[in-house]
Point group: C4
Chain length 252, copies 4
């Protein structure tokens, strides 16, 4: 079999689309943010991707229906501004080779649409619960930094220290090196202990500013409040018990 | 060498055959059930499959004769109803890539016979000895659920929670996604602590109902009784000692 | 690069040669025996094999000269009887894929010489020091058993229980299944705790009988005596301390 | 995607260039030495190499700019003597296959320049802080030993005992076996506990002698002094606490 099988369902004409990548990772920040965009914009599915770089597994829904694990790409056409492509999925490639191959295949496939930029989303693990999560940035081109700062992104010196490992890093690095498409990685701070809508909310807020998206954050506000109630007690306990790790690597 | 080498011995004309997959897994439920079908129906060997996705190993029989490890497919022609194909073997593919490649190669090879459906068999680990094992189901098409329920399969909400990992999952998912063949996974409950004819018996009973097979369950009844005597004491001990795990993932 | 690179130095005309495989393994029994044949018969090098299935490593000799790790094949022409090919090397393939690919490449390369049989050598781990090591056998064809018994090989029922894992198993299994060449695996008993000339001596003795080789065992006798003096005390200690493992798997 | 992607930026005419390989390894001795040559000679970048044999990762600089991890080759033309090529990078290939493939790809690419020799640099782990680190050597051709000794290299019998594992070994072994280019591995002694300019200094000194390089060692002297002040106390502690390992393998 081919190592990656892409099923493309649609052939839309897209106008300078931006790709937003939100695969599972730390705190699932990227995935929550990307799923939120797909839901709010009622995006249409463009393609499914199956691969032996994903676990050999089916998921089963509430009814009992099985579906092979996959990555999927959704699209949304907007009037008068750049269109949107969003990558989501059940898994990142599970091996080093898989990370490169899956990321490359996605970019190679989307080349036909004339991508104008790539934003990969992820969580930035702080090891403790954060009251007001920041969104850290990394760019492929220093000229982008100012615009990102205006959209609420911070660039603390030397963070993340270990670079960005995983699909958020390699999609970004490849889009720049091999496809000459600039981009940025947006990392929402999260404790990393659970799926975290709070970090995701901040990432969506940045995207809203950056891409001038007409999107409200109400549902994420709501989920964030629920999480805060749950974590209120956890936080108190965590602050007395846990030793905060200061210089964590990052897995997007 | 080719990564998978298939030796096909026969070219039978089969009528809408159903594939039943029973590779080794939890409690060897699928393998015991599949071997039972091959034995009872005196099925003929269709093909052997060797692969570098299996361990580099020979097994040695009682006499001292070595044979390279493999998967094998058997067939049986029935009058007036769908024919049967059964997949058994020494191992599942041992890597993620191997799981996909082996499963794909089996389906690709069997395409020539016009498969009408795929049933993968497995064990569902309960972590404790079960008096009356149920058969859990997962389907590729919700329209199949009713017929499976009539054959004795249950569909408890949200089980198995982690989906189905391994050949029972990936053969099912691939047959649907890549070969447009519907199917189901039948998982017999088992403690998972030993090779378990009791769970296998229930799986064969479901197949008997579902495919209208003319097969008695006497030998499995007999082996089940033997196992029950052995496990009677184990069960008592286990119930006092072991902490039952409620929400186990599943490896078919 | 190609995954396996074979450098063949000679093109001898060989008469129904027998391949003897002695790669490193338990107690290095197979390797010691194979090296002994090469040394005693002053065999000539036929080919070197380099591969990414071996560790990325050079060995350095006493002088300081580095050489890339490899497998090598030697040959010896005899008058009036079958010629000899011996496989030795620094490593077995280190992965499952590597075991299959390396074994296949060796057999594929030697096909040109019209192999008449394959004997793989290995150690059979007893977990304790053995006074009079036996040579256990496994064959590809039951018709070979009698001849092997006459040469001193034993076939205890159900041993080795786990089959034969590694190159000794997979070369044997492949030669039979994929190249239609019969053969046997000869496993000299060894504690498995150190490189063991004693088990190797018994394996060479069997080969001498089986292939009617004109070879003396004096040097192996000598090395065996030295080892026995060293292990005399170890044996006493081991017998009081160690719990002998009865049903070990085998790695050739 | 291709497993290794080489981007060659220049097509210089080089005169019998020598390749010096300094990828990360024990004490980063090879990398520090190689980076020092690139810096001091203001070498120009010849090529970048990206690969799925490297971690799926971007590094981020002080500003916040991400770059995909890579290996790079630099060159320098000298008047009237052999030119210089230096290999540096973020990582060695991370798998066995990767080590072979990356090393092969580098040599294959540089074949066009008519390499006259290959020197791989590495650290030799002593497990304790060394006052006057030696540079150990291994060669592909015994005829080179004398010249290396004159340049300050030592060849202690039987060291390194486990051979040379990793890129320093496999580039050397391959250049000799597969490209017929002679060479040596130069291993600066280092404790292996931290990035060690002291061992690197000795390696650069040997290269200066060997290749008649017009290079001063002042900056390395300076960094060595700084490290010595830091390690002065560590050394005292280490000598009382740590059990020196005498016969360590080597990872270049």
């Amino acid at each position: 079999m081919e190592k990656i099988i892409i099923r493309q369902y649609k052939k839309p004409k897209l106008s300078s689309p931006v790709l937003i990548g939100g695969l599972p990772g730390i705190g699932n920040v990227g995935k929550i943010a990307a799923d939120y965009l797909i839901d709010k914009f009622k995006m249409e599915k463009l393609a499914d991707m199956f691969s032996q770089y994903f676990p050999p597994q089916v998921f089963i829904d509430e009814e009992g229906v099985a579906r092979l694990v996959r990555n999927s790409i959704y699209y949304k056409k907007f009037r008068g501004k750049q269109d949107l492509l969003v990558l989501v999925g059940d898994f990142q490639g599970t091996t080093q080779e898989g990370q490169y191959e899956v990321s490359y295949a996605i970019l190679e496939m989307l080349k036909q649409f004339g991508l104008s930029g790539v934003y990969t989303l992820g969580g930035y693990s702080t090891g403790k619960i954060v009251d007001e999560p920041r969104v850290l940035g990394a760019v492929t081109d220093p000229a982008m930094i100012e615009k990102l700062k205006e959209s609420g992104v911070v660039f603390p010196k030397g963070e993340p220290g270990g670079g960005i490992v995983g699909s958020a890093g390699v999609i970004l690095g490849m889009s720049s090196e091999m496809f000459s498409i600039g981009g940025a990685c947006l990392m929402g701070e999260t404790s990393g202990y659970f799926a975290d809508p709070k970090g995701a909310r901040e990432v969506v807020k940045v995207l809203k500013n950056l891409l001038n998206l007409d999107i409200n954050l109400e549902d994420l506000d709501e989920r964030t409040k629920q999480i805060e109630q749950i974590t209120g007690r956890m936080q108190e306990e965590a602050q007395t018990r846990a030793q905060p790790k200061e210089d964590l690597g990052y897995f997007g």
